[in-house]
C-alpha cells in the first residue's frame, strides 16, 4: 500500500448526480466500450457490408422488385430499416452482461435517478446503431444505390430512421434486463429479429412470399417503415408500386414505433428500478 497520506478531500454532503449527468455518464461508458473494443467495431461494419453485398450481387440477380425501380434501389431502404435490428441487437447482450456482472447493482446503489442509466444506455446504443447505418449508407452508394428524392424527403427519412432506432432499442434493452446472461439475451434477440427482418418487404417484395405469410409481412412495423423510407427516397409511393400514399406509410410507422417506445421503455425502466 502507499505510504504517503493523500490530502483528504473536504468532507461534503453527498448529493448524487442529476438526471442529465447520470444519463450521460452511463451513455459515455457504453460508447467508450464500443469504440475501444475493436472486435465490436469491426464486426458490425463487416457484417453489414457482407449482407449488403450478398443481397445486391448474389440474391439480387434472382429478385425482381416488380416495379420500375432497380433491385439495388429497392433493397437499400429495407436494408437500412432492418439494419436497426442487426446493429441494435448487441444492446440486449450488453445490458444482460451489465446485469449479470454487478454493474446494475452498483448503479442502483448510487444516489442517482433510477431510470437514468437505462436512458443513457438507450441514447448510446441509438448513437452507435446510427453510426453503423451511416456506414451502411455509404456502402450503399458504392454498390450503386441512386435515390430519386429531395432534401425534405431525405430529412424525413433520416428522422424516421432515428426515431425507429431509438424506439426499438428499448425492445433490446428490455430483453437485456429480463435475461439471465448475455448468451440468453443474444438468443432471444436473434429469435425475435430473424422473422422481423425476413418475414417482411425489406429484402424482397412481400407479394413474392407465400400467401399465408403475407398478412404478417405486410403489417409488421419493419415492412411499414421500409415502405415509408422507400417511398421517401425513391420519389413517392406510386413510383415503388405501393398502395396508399407516402404520408400513409410515414404516419403508420410513427404510430407503430411510438407504441413500441411507450411499452418497452416502461417495462425496461420498471424492471431495472424495481426492488424485489
Amino acid at each position: 500500500m502507499t505510504t504517503t497520506t493523500a490530502p483528504q478531500a473536504p468532507v461534503r454532503r453527498v448529493v448524487g448526480a442529476g438526471y442529465t449527468t447520470a444519463a450521460l455518464q452511463s451513455a459515455k461508458r457504453t460508447v467508450l466500450q464500443f469504440f475501444r473494443t475493436p472486435q465490436l467495431l469491426m464486426l458490425g461494419t463487416v457484417q453489414g457490408a457482407l449482407f449488403l453485398f450478398m443481397f445486391r450481387y448474389i440474391f439480387g440477380g434472382a429478385i425482381r422488385p416488380g416495379s420500375a425501380v432497380d433491385y439495388v434501389d429497392f433493397l437499400v431502404p429495407g436494408f437500412l430499416v432492418t439494419g436497426i435490428l442487426w446493429l441494435g441487437m448487441s444492446a440486449a447482450s450488453g445490458v444482460a452482461d451489465d446485469a449479470a456482472t454487478g454493474v446494475h447493482d452498483r448503479l442502483r446503489s448510487l444516489p442517482i435517478p433510477r431510470s437514468a442509466p437505462m436512458i443513457g444506455r438507450s441514447l448510446a446504443d441509438t448513437a452507435l446503431t446510427l453510426w453503423g447505418l451511416l456506414i451502411a449508407t455509404m456502402l450503399a452508394f458504392i454498390v450503386g444505390f441512386r435515390p430519386d428524392t429531395d432534401i425534405a424527403a431525405v430529412a424525413l427519412a433520416v428522422g424516421l430512421l432515428v426515431f425507429a432506432t431509438y424506439s426499438f432499442m428499448w425492445v433490446f434493452i428490455t430483453i437485456g434486463v429480463i435475461s439471465a446472461n448475455a448468451q440468453s439475451a443474444q438468443g432471444t434477440a436473434t429469435l425475435l429479429i430473424v422473422p422481423l427482418a425476413f418475414v417482411s418487404a425489406s429484402y424482397v417484395p412481400a407479394d413474392t412470399l407465400p400467401g399465408w405469410m403475407q398478412p404478417v409481412a405486410n403489417n409488421q412495423p419493419f415492412t411499414i417503415a421500409a415502405n415509408a423510407v422507400r417511398s421517401l427516397l425513391l420519389g413517392g409511393a406510386e413510383d415503388v408500386g405501393l398502395e396508399h400514399s407516402t404520408g400513409h406509410w410515414v404516419a403508420l410507422s410513427l404510430i407503430w414505433f411510438t407504441a413500441i417506445l411507450a411499452v418497452f421503455a416502461s417495462i425496461a425502466v420498471a424492471r431495472f428500478a424495481r426492488r424485489r
Partner: protein
C-alpha cells in the same frame, strides 16, 4: 451513538426459499463487521437488502439511523457497494472508471478528478491510473472496484466476498486496503466464507446460517464459545491416524475429529497439562508424530460447536440455491 446498521426480524423469501429468516443484527461504528457463513446462508441477500437493492418481506433495516424502506435515496447517499464481481468497465482506464463513479455521486468534474486520484493513491494503484482495466490483474481489478465504492466517501462500505477468487498476495493487499479504510473512519460490513478473513479483519463477527444469526461477538468471544483449547496431532505415518484418535479420546473433553485432508487429529481439551500427557502417551504406544500442538479453536470449530455441523458440510447441503437465484 446510532449503530451504522440495525436489522430487526428481517425476512426475505425467494419462492420457497427463506433467504433471510428473521435476521437480527446490530453493527456499530469503528470496526469491521464480518458476516460469516456458508454458501446459501443469506449473506449476499442481506448485503443487497442493506444496499436498498432488495426490499425485505418483513422486518426493518436502518442504516445510520435511516429507514431503508422509507428513504432508500438517503441510504444510497451513505453507502458504497462492491459486489461479488469487479463491476468496473474493462474498456475504461482506472481513472476514468473512478471519475465516472465520482460524477454519479454528484461531484463536479474537478472534484471527481481529485477524488479519483486520491483513491488511486490510497489503493496503491496510482501507477496504473491511465491503463485500461483490461490490462489489470484480478487483484488490481478488485482493488479498483473497492476504490469505485469509495469515491463518494461513503459512511458505510458494503463488501460482498471481496477476496473471492484472489491469489494469496492479492488477498493480503486487499485486506490492507480495507484496514486502512476503517482507520480513516469508514465503517465496513463484509461477507466472507473464509474464517481466516473474518478473524484477520473483523472486530465483530456474525455467523449466519439459513438466514438466521447463530452466533455473534468478537473473534475471541466466539472462540471462547467453542469452550476450550484444541490439541492437534499429525502422525508421521498415515496409518497411525486411527491409533492417535484412540489415544486422544482418553485425553479430550469431546470425541476427536480426524481430518484426512490435512492428516491431523484434533480434540478439545480442558486445562493445560495435556501436551505433556499426549507426548508420553504416544511415546508409550510407539506412535511417531510430526507435529503436536495446543491452540485456540478456529472459527471452523466455533461453527461446528454452535451448529453441530462443519462449515464445509453445510456448504454442500444447502448449495448455491439461495445466492444464485437472484444473482442475475
Amino acid at each position: 451513538m446510532t449503530p451504522i446498521i440495525e436489522a430487526s426480524s428481517v425476512v426475505k423469501r425467494f419462492g420457497e426459499v427463506r433467504a433471510l429468516d428473521g435476521l437480527e443484527l446490530v453493527a456499530r461504528s469503528g470496526h469491521i463487521t464480518a458476516l460469516l457463513g456458508p454458501n446459501g446462508a443469506g449473506k449476499t441477500t442481506f448485503v443487497r437488502t442493506v444496499a436498498t437493492l432488495l426490499q425485505p418481506d418483513a422486518g426493518e433495516i436502518r442504516v445510520a439511523g435511516i429507514d431503508a424502506r422509507a428513504q432508500p435515496d438517503r441510504v444510497r447517499r451513505a453507502i458504497g457497494l462492491a459486489g461479488q464481481f469487479a463491476s468496473v468497465e474493462p474498456a475504461m482506464t482506472g481513472l476514468e472508471n473512478l471519475r465516472m463513479v465520482g460524477r454519479l455521486f454528484g461531484l463536479s468534474r474537478r472534484e471527481a478528478r481529485v477524488a479519483a486520484t486520491d483513491v488511486l493513491d490510497r489503493l496503491g494503484l496510482a501507477h496504473a491510473g491511465d491503463r485500461l482495466l483490461r490490462t489489470y490483474s484480478g487483484g488490481m481489478r478488485r482493488r479498483l472496484d473497492l476504490g469505485a465504492s469509495l469515491v463518494g466517501r461513503p459512511r458505510l462500505l458494503l463488501l460482498d466476498e471481496p477476496t473471492t477468487g484472489l491469489d494469496p498476495r492479492g488477498r493480503i493487499d486487499l485486506w490492507d486496503a480495507i484496514r486502512d479504510l476503517v482507520a480513516d473512519g469508514t465503517d465496513v460490513l463484509l461477507t466472507t466464507q473464509y474464517l481466516e478473513e473474518a478473524d484477520q479483519l473483523a472486530g465483530h463477527v456474525v455467523i449466519i446460517d439459513h438466514g438466521r444469526v447463530i452466533a455473534a461477538g468478537t473473534p475471541d468471544e466466539l472462540k471462547d464459545r467453542a469452550g476450550t483449547n484444541v490439541l492437534e496431532v499429525r502422525p508421521r505415518r498415515q496409518g497411525d491416524l486411527p491409533a492417535i484418535e484412540v489415544a486422544l479420546a482418553t485425553i479430550g473433553t469431546d470425541a476427536p475429529q480426524t481430518d484426512i485432508g490435512t492428516q491431523r487429529v484434533s480434540v478439545p481439551v480442558a486445562g493445560g497439562d495435556q501436551l505433556r500427557d499426549i507426548v508420553r502417551l504416544l511415546d508409550d504406544r510407539g506412535i511417531e508424530a510430526d507435529d503436536i500442538g495446543l491452540r485456540r479453536p478456529t472459527l471452523d470449530e466455533v461453527f461446528l460447536a454452535v451448529t453441530g455441523k462443519p462449515l464445509d458440510a453445510s456448504d454442500a447441503d444447502s448449495g448455491h440455491r439461495t445466492e444464485t437465484t437472484h444473482a442475475a
